[in-house]
C-alpha cells in the first residue's frame, strides 16, 4: 500500500473541504433568489387555498393581488412577534386571514385561519407541518379534517376568544369543537393549543375592531 504522511493527509482534507465549501456557497447563493421566490409563492398559494381559491396558473402573484388587498402587521409590546393579519375580498365579501404557528408532535405546525367579516366565523382553514407522521398526524392537511372547521366560531357570546378545540367524539352541533384525528392525538392536541394560544393574541385587535365598527354604525 502506498504510504501517505500525516502532513499529506492534513493538507488533503483541508484542500478538499475548502473546494467543497466554495462550490456549495457559490451554488447556494446563485439559487437563493429562485428558492425564496418558491417559498413566497407557496405561502401565497396557501393563503389563497385558505379562502377557497384554487390557484392553477404559475402566476401566483397576480391571483394573490386580486384577492388580498392588505397585510397588517401590528407590533405588540409584550410579544416578540408582531400580529399579522391579511385582509381579503372575495366575491364582494371582506374577511381576514390569521396565520398561526405552534408545535405538533415532532415539529412545528402552521395554520392559516380565514375569518368572515364578523371576525368570528371560520370560512376556511389550511394546515401545514414540518414532520408529522404521514397517515396519522399529517392528516391535519386533508380536506376532510379542514372542512370540519368551516362555520365554527372562535368567539363566545361575550366576544371572548374561546377558539375551536380538537377533541375526541366532538359534538358536530357545538360551534367550538371539531373531531380529532384517530391515531393523531398528540398532533390534534397541538392544533387545539396552537389555535387557542395564537387566537388569544388577537383578542385585543378583535375587540377593538368590532367595537369601532359598532360605534360607527351607532352614529349613523
Amino acid at each position: 500500500m502506498k504510504y501517505f504522511s500525516n502532513k499529506y493527509m492534513l493538507i488533503y482534507s483541508l484542500a478538499l473541504a475548502a473546494v467543497v465549501a466554495a462550490l456549495l456557497s457559490v451554488v447556494a447563493m446563485s439559487l437563493k433568489s429562485r428558492q425564496d421566490a418558491n417559498v413566497r409563492n407557496e405561502k401565497m398559494k396557501m393563503l389563497l387555498t385558505t379562502i377557497g381559491v384554487e390557484c392553477k396558473t404559475n402566476d401566483v402573484q397576480s391571483v394573490y393581488d386580486q384577492y388580498f388587498k392588505e397585510e397588517l402587521s401590528i407590533e405588540k409590546d409584550d410579544d416578540d412577534r408582531p400580529l399579522t393579519i391579511y385582509l381579503y375580498e372575495k366575491e364582494g365579501q371582506h374577511g381576514y386571514v390569521i396565520p398561526t404557528q405552534g408545535n405538533g408532535l415532532w415539529g412545528k405546525i402552521y395554520a392559516n385561519i380565514a375569518l368572515a367579516d364578523d371576525l368570528n366565523t371560520i370560512v376556511g382553514i389550511t394546515f401545514s407541518h414540518e414532520s408529522e407522521t404521514p397517515g396519522l398526524g399529517a392528516e391535519i392537511t386533508t380536506e376532510a379534517f379542514r372542512n370540519q372547521f368551516i362555520g365554527k366560531k372562535i368567539l363566545d357570546e361575550n366576544g371572548e376568544v374561546v377558539s375551536v378545540a380538537v377533541v375526541k367524539h366532538a359534538d358536530a352541533a357545538d360551534l367550538h369543537q371539531v373531531d380529532a384525528i384517530s391515531g393523531g392525538t398528540m398532533t390534534s392536541n397541538g392544533v387545539s393549543e396552537m389555535l387557542i394560544n395564537e387566537l388569544q393574541r388577537y383578542q385585543h385587535y378583535i375587540t377593538e375592531t368590532l367595537s369601532d365598527r359598532k360605534e360607527a354604525t351607532d352614529e349613523q
Binding site: 501517505f4 478538499l16 418558491n38
Partner: protein, 203 residues
Amino acid sequence: MNSNRKKLIVNPLSKDNPITVQVLGICSCLAVTAQLKPAVVMAISVTVVIALSNLIISLLRNTIPPRIRIIVQLVVVSALVILVNQILMAFVYDVSKQLSVYVGLIITNCIVMGRLEAFAMTNKPFDSLLDGVGNGLGYGIILVILGFVRELFGSGSLWGYPIFEKLGLYNIGYENNGFIIMAPMALILVGIIIWIQRSRNEA
C-alpha cells in the same frame, strides 16, 4: 461499447439489483414511492449522485489516503447531495417538499457508499461512471415500479392525473386501497418483485 462495460450497466438492473438482490436502500424506497412523481425525481437524484460520486472518487482514487478514505467519500457524497437538494428546491419546489428529508438521506444510502468502496476505489473513471449509472438505474427502476403500482391502486391516479376517476371506475363501486399508500405495503410489494425476479432469473 464492449461487453464488460455493457455488463456494468445491465447487471444492476436485474441480476445484481441493489434493492432486490443486495437489499440496500430499502428505507427511501418505502418512503418516497407513494406517488409516481417523487419516485421518479428520487430515482434521478440518486442516479446523479451515485454516478458523479463514483466518477469523482475514481478520479481521486490514487490520491486518497486509505486511512481517511471514508471521510473523503462522505464529503464528496454530501456535497453532491446538497447540490441536488438546492437544485430541487429551486426548480421543482413541490417535489422537494414531498421528498423532504429523504433527499438529505441519500448521503446515508448504502448503495452510494457501497459502490464507492466496492468499485470506484479500484476502477477507472469511465467504468466507475457506468457502474454508478447502472446502479442508480437499478435502484430507480424498482422505485418507479413501486410508485406506479402504489399511486395507481392507492390513489387511483398517475402523475397526479386522476385516471380511475376519468375511467368511471368509482361509479361501478371501485374503491382506492388506502393500505397500499402505507409503508408496510411497499415492503410487501418489494417482496413480490423479489419473488418474481428470483423465479425468473433462476429458471
